[in-house]
Symmetry: C2
Subunit: 258 residues, 2 copies
């Protein structure tokens, strides 16, 4: 059971909250002016609107569509007076981390120009490395800070979501670095992951890691010249048995070679 927007605002107010963050899903089927009016009557601030972004797509049309949709989100954030519009960067395309990050950089730069005109703050959200394939190739506060600094637009800042950044040994350093550029702070606590996550790995080639690239890094210039181990902790492959697994590993390794 979910609350409707009017009920949600009433509940939040009744319990002493002073602001709410909304997802754009919450606005669906409602006139934006009506939402603005509900917020105004409630006296609650709109701490953030979520989300713009998801910029990464294999085809240019997908990237253009994401940018258009993000501009609509900017319009909505402006109309509602959101303190910030959260930008979820977008997940990995194929196995190309560098290329995916470039897509985020390009689209974010364009969106920033649009948001600045409307006075909307864009809060780039680094997400837990767990979500790099599905949601965000920007995996640490450092990366988000780098991106914001590089693009150098006054409307750009970061989302500081405890759930996504808490594990990072560079957290204090990077938080100091983005002081005054934190547009949104969110919290949730970390629970032991459901499912046996240590045991859902794939044999080389089965998943989304550019293993040839990652291995080349370790081997180029003689950084490492020893053996390469394949360590596929996997309930699926354990179930498949050692013969099938070895076959798959041998095939996967062969495919890695240049």
């Amino acid at each position: 059971m979910h609350l409707g927007l009017a009920e949600l605002l009433r509940e939040a107010e009744r319990r002493g909250f002073q602001a709410v963050g909304l997802w754009r899903d919450n606005l669906e089927g409602m006139l934006l002016q009506k939402v603005a009016r509900l917020l105004e009557v409630s006296g609650l601030r709109l701490s953030s609107l979520c989300r713009a972004g998801l910029f990464t797509h294999p085809e240019p049309e997908g990237r253009r569509a994401a940018l258009s949709e993000s501009k609509i989100a900017v319009d909505q954030a402006a109309t509602l007076g959101a303190a910030a519009l959260v930008v979820v960067p977008g997940g990995l395309v194929g196995r190309d981390l560098a290329g995916s990050r470039q897509m985020v950089r390009d689209s974010l730069g364009e969106l920033a120009a649009y948001a600045r005109e409307q006075g909307v703050k864009l809060a780039v959200e680094p997400m837990h490395p767990l979500l790099v394939q599905e949601r965000s190739v920007i995996t640490s506060l450092r990366e988000a800070n780098d991106l914001v600094e590089e693009l150098g637009d006054d409307c750009l800042g970061v989302t500081y979501d405890a759930y996504h950044v808490w594990w990072d040994s560079a957290l204090a350093l990077e938080t100091a670095r983005c002081a005054g550029r934190i547009w949104s702070v969110q919290v949730a606590d970390w629970l032991p992951p459901t499912g046996r996550l240590t045991a859902c790995r794939g044999v080389p080639g089965e998943g989304c890691i550019d293993l040839a690239g990652v291995l080349a890094l370790a081997q180029e210039g003689g950084a490492y010249a020893g053996d390469i181990e394949v360590e596929v902790l996997s309930e699926a492959w354990w179930g498949a048995g050692p013969e099938a697994t070895l076959d798959a590993v041998v095939a996967g390794l062969s495919a890695l070679k240049p």
Copy 2:
């Protein structure tokens, strides 16, 4: 079905592998000299033995026991001529990341002195931030490099496991930094996690994040003075309904205040 050690070595050799990595589980119930002999006969190198470590425990006895067990692992690695002994640092104790990291540093320093005497290389394994609670408070190659440099023992190096480090935007930089100090390279591919991992968050206080500390970082010195959002994507709390969730959130937030 798993292979016994002798069969495993035969299969590996038959398929053209030149080395194997073993877990200490593989040695259970066998005389170490017999394992050494099997390896010798097979002609396969022992690329690594896994593992020492798991140094983090709330009580000193737990930490002492882990260190003792790790010394046995060093002895085994020496006897078997393992190219390296993998060190899995150990997971989070309570909510204290800094304290847990200190435990790793202390025990690793002591283990290094022992391993150096025996000519065993210790390969510190940074693990995916997904596993910070269960397995490793060392979550990036940068952290592992920092640790190795700080302790400054010749026997110390890193494990470069593609599965654990691939997402990191600092990977090229940090790999260059540990050139010649990579004692072990491992690969597995990344598959979409099983379970709905984006929806297993906890309300403040329910899990293991030091949320008060993480929030203080963002708020001290005026880095951020805006609203704090609670964003608990959770199938469990969705099932519990909005009333119960709001009660839990209000209680959790109150407990966060100093």
